[in-house]
């Protein structure tokens, strides 16, 4: 866990890509889940943040 946080602070690609991946996956699940409309409402925001983050952090150093 501490290695993950250190990687984030050092702007390394691996942990940031992992974070972006989690956000995208979370956004898609929120978009398609049948439980709460409020999750659906914020799903696009989460997916968009994750996708933009993914595009940016894929240019970080390994």
């Amino acid at each position: 866990m501490s290695a993950f946080i250190k990687g984030l602070l050092a702007l390394r690609r691996g942990p940031w890509e992992m974070l972006a991946t989690i956000l995208i996956a979370l956004g898609v699940v929120m978009l398609m889940q049948p439980f709460a409309l409020v999750l659906f409402t914020y799903s696009f925001l989460v997916t968009l943040v994750g996708t933009v983050m993914f595009i940016i952090v894929s240019h970080f150093k390994e």
């Binding site: 972006a20 409309l37 409402t41 996708t51």
Partner: protein, 319 residues
């Protein structure tokens, strides 16, 4: 005296090139020449992909209606996005899409891999069997849609009679495409029937790429068939399988034709997939701004999913 070799077509072409043009081309760097070759493709991509995308993003913030192009354009900010993302009907549509996407991928991967595994064995009539299995994939979705509509007919359709034969439930007592609970499964069955051969072909390519000597070495090491399957076959076919899931996932997320022909989104809205809803908003209700926002939401979702999927695929290939 040495004989000069006959001029090749390239020599003749070089001689025919006007000297000024030749000098100009010779003066260009490799990078410039590469740009000259790539430029038409880039221009084409900009014209048919990037420009419409940027235009759609712009329209998504307006109340533009394509059937009233002369009306003044009003900037509505994020109102279109807000409307879509707080609409329970759109939410229902997303759930229908998720149901269709998940189950079609599940069955296509399962059956596609199983068929590839069976077809990969050497037996008489292997080629004929492969051709027959691949046939549904080659048909037009319009043909498949109409064909299955007849098969699902409660009075004359074969499916109802087959169900009656197996379960004893009277054929005319239920209708696959008209029932709220059965219609979502009916479209899953048709898409699975049509596209399982595609997954099978990709898996077959993966299975045939595994060299025999690996299995021979495993046999010598007395590895069981079960162990060979899980530790050799599955990991080596996985990149192919993931590629098939990526292709089918993207295709099924924007599935339109087959479902329109089978159910038209009904009964009620039970099979109303997001692409059908999008088409209705854009070209039946003519809410172009609203449907542009809808399209952007779908695009970001597919793009995000494809990005993480391609990353996962690369990791699997590196192993």
């Amino acid at each position: 005296m040495q004989d000069t070799p006959p001029a090749t077509p390239a020599d003749r072409l070089a001689r025919a090139t006007p000297p000024t043009l030749a000098r100009k081309v010779r003066g260009l760097s490799d990078r410039s020449i590469a740009w000259i070759f790539v430029a038409p493709t880039i221009l084409l991509l900009l014209a048919i992909n990037i420009f419409p995308l940027i235009w759609t993003i712009r329209l998504s913030f307006t109340n533009f209606r394509a059937n009233r192009p002369n009306e003044p354009l009003e900037w509505v900010g994020l109102r279109n996005y807000e409307r879509i993302l707080t609409d329970p009907d759109v939410w229902q549509t997303m759930q229908a899409t998720a149901h269709f996407l998940f189950w079609t991928l599940f069955f296509q991967v399962l059956l596609g891999f199983a068929l590839a595994w069976l077809i990969n064995r050497k037996f008489r009539g292997n080629d004929l069997m492969t051709t027959l299995i691949v046939l549904p994939m080659m048909l037009s979705p319009a043909v498949v849609g109409n064909f299955w509509t007849f098969l699902y007919q409660p009075q004359i359709g074969l499916i109802n009679y087959a169900v009656e034969f197996v379960t004893g439930i009277p054929a005319s007592s239920f209708t696959m495409l008209g029932s709220v609970s059965l219609a979502p499964w009916a479209i899953v069955i048709v898409d699975t029937w049509m596209w399982t051969p595609f997954v099978m072909l990709i898996c077959l390519a993966g299975l045939r790429s595994i060299p025999d000597y690996i299995y021979e070495a495993a046999e010598i090491d007395r590895a069981s068939k079960w162990r060979q399957f899980w530790t050799m076959t599955v990991p080596m076919v996985l990149p192919f399988l993931m590629l098939a899931v990526l292709f089918r996932g993207i295709e099924n997320f924007k599935m339109f034709d087959l479902v329109v022909l089978l159910t038209g989104g009904g009964p009620g809205d039970t099979t109303l997939l997001s692409s059908i809803e999008l088409k209705r908003e854009a070209f039946e209700k003519w809410r172009t701004g609203y449907s542009s926002a809808y399209a952007i939401i779908l695009f970001v979702t597919v793009f995000g999913l494809a990005s993480i999927y391609v990353k996962a695929l690369n990791k699997v290939k590196e192993r």
